[in-house]
Amino acid sequence: MGPMTTTPTDWAVEAEGLVKTFGTNRAVDGVDLRVKSGTVYGVLGPNGAGKTTTINMLATLLRPDGGTGRIFGHDVVREPQIVRQLIGVTGQFASVDETLSATENLIIFGRLLGLSRIEAKAKSVELLERFSLTEAAKRPLKKFSGGMRRRLDLAASLIAQPPLIFLDEPTTGLDPRTRGEMWDTIRDLVASGSTVLLTTQYLDEADQLADRIAVIDRGRVVAEGTPDELKTSVGSSSLQLRVMDPRDTDATMEAIERILGVHGTLSPEASRITAPMAEPDRVTDLLLALRQSGIGLDEISVQKPTLDEVFLTLTGHDAADQNQPEAQNAEGEKEEVLA
């Protein structure tokens, strides 16, 4: 395909030390991101961590207070109009006209992007069909469901077929089925050659879609890597056991230490044991050992790491909503925010 060496334009996004301050709150505090062309990049973090602010700076909506951002090698501050020709943005909130129909919205955006009347019309038909919105095309948007509106938003971002698409929390607030459809759509986009930078609050979503993930916390990137690397750094899934007879608890803990080679922890109610599960294969050995010792189990489950756990491991505090309290104690680095 391309040249063998890595040219600057192999990077769809290069952000170096991006800073944005609102009053005393450093919403984005030196963010570095590098997104390779043709990949999906996930920015993962709780509410208020600085995800949207970062995207807004890269999408020329906000001027950075510090650092630089380049889109396919073009500086977001010096060449904003070129950057705008290369990006599509789907924000968290409806960025279409509520009073107009889906068709009218798409035609107006198409005309603004330089399509002729006929081309704009054809494009809107094509996009509505691709996003299964044809039947709703003439309905006022007020009657659209959340999922339909999100799809129309995305459709509007694709009129100019931009090589880079920003998706700000594309599935927040959607039901599981609609979320799955959105994921398929995003995969299709990448298959057609687009680069996607998406933000999400869900580890699962980043895991499903992203080639690389940056975990962002209080305006900083605290971890970066492939989903596998990230999960390994957190410790993988955990095994949860509840023994029938509480008197067997100590023996079970001992068996876990002997066979899995890790320390189990006892939950506050003292009936549930949780142990990190690095190698699922050894769980079989553990279960067999417990059977041989005559220890009965009430319940057994495997828990995947949640965003909360990722956060706890990476930052030492949990992933509580960072919107409000941060404004006051942005300086205090490791304060525990108890939800």
Binding site: Q81, A94, F109
Partner: protein, 274 residues
Amino acid sequence: MTVIAAPRIVPPSERNLKNYTGLGQNVRNTLTMAYRGLVKIRRTPEQLIDVTVQPIVFTLMFAYIFGGAIAGDVQNYLPTLIPGILVQTVITTSVVTGVQLREDMDKGVFDRFRTLPIARIAPLSGALLADTVRYAIATTMTFAVGYLMGYHPAGGLWNVILASLLVIACSWAISWIFAFFGVIARTASSVQGISMLILFPLTFLSNAYVPIDTLPTWLAWFASINPISHLVTAVRDLVNEGTVGPDLWTTLLGAAVIVAVFAPLTVRAYMRKA
């Protein structure tokens, strides 16, 4: 069922990119944004109440209330009243420009406009352009009501059209003031509030409804320098006499001054936010 594949994306290196918008694109984008404004009006026709119902109600009301007192009877009052009420109604309509601009700028769709490679000024210039259609409707309504009430302008149709264009042009000029408020204000209702506070005295403390010589001296002085009075007189000269008086030139000069002052102010404030 056919599955529509996403079209292949053209890589950035093969695109023709430019970091500026030419004059042609400015004009095209402005026209598209004006078209958007008109489609919105069609979708929410209730927005047109101020330019359709208001001219009817005000013209009827003022004619029958003041007609006898000021001009002896309603018929004699119409040549004075219709130009006055025309100017007041159409100028008042221009407040909507600022209010709607504020509302628009607060919406998510505005953020999308800002991420598109379009002329930065288009959402503003498009809105101002679309509103001239509103002024045209208000103008037509006022003359139509007047005609039905028995007002037949002596200046003839051609001069009525000329007077209409004058009023529309002046309202467009004045809408720059309200667009400025719209850009700098925090809420749409505050735009409405500030604008009405200015417009109400300005339109009433003029010769729109009463002869200036009936006013107390200090008020007569204000009414005679009030630009609204000049516009009203210019319209009266055109539609009733078919003549072009000095007031027309004064008015056009005033309109030009307003645009010269407020257009740069508005555009600068707007660009800072856009």
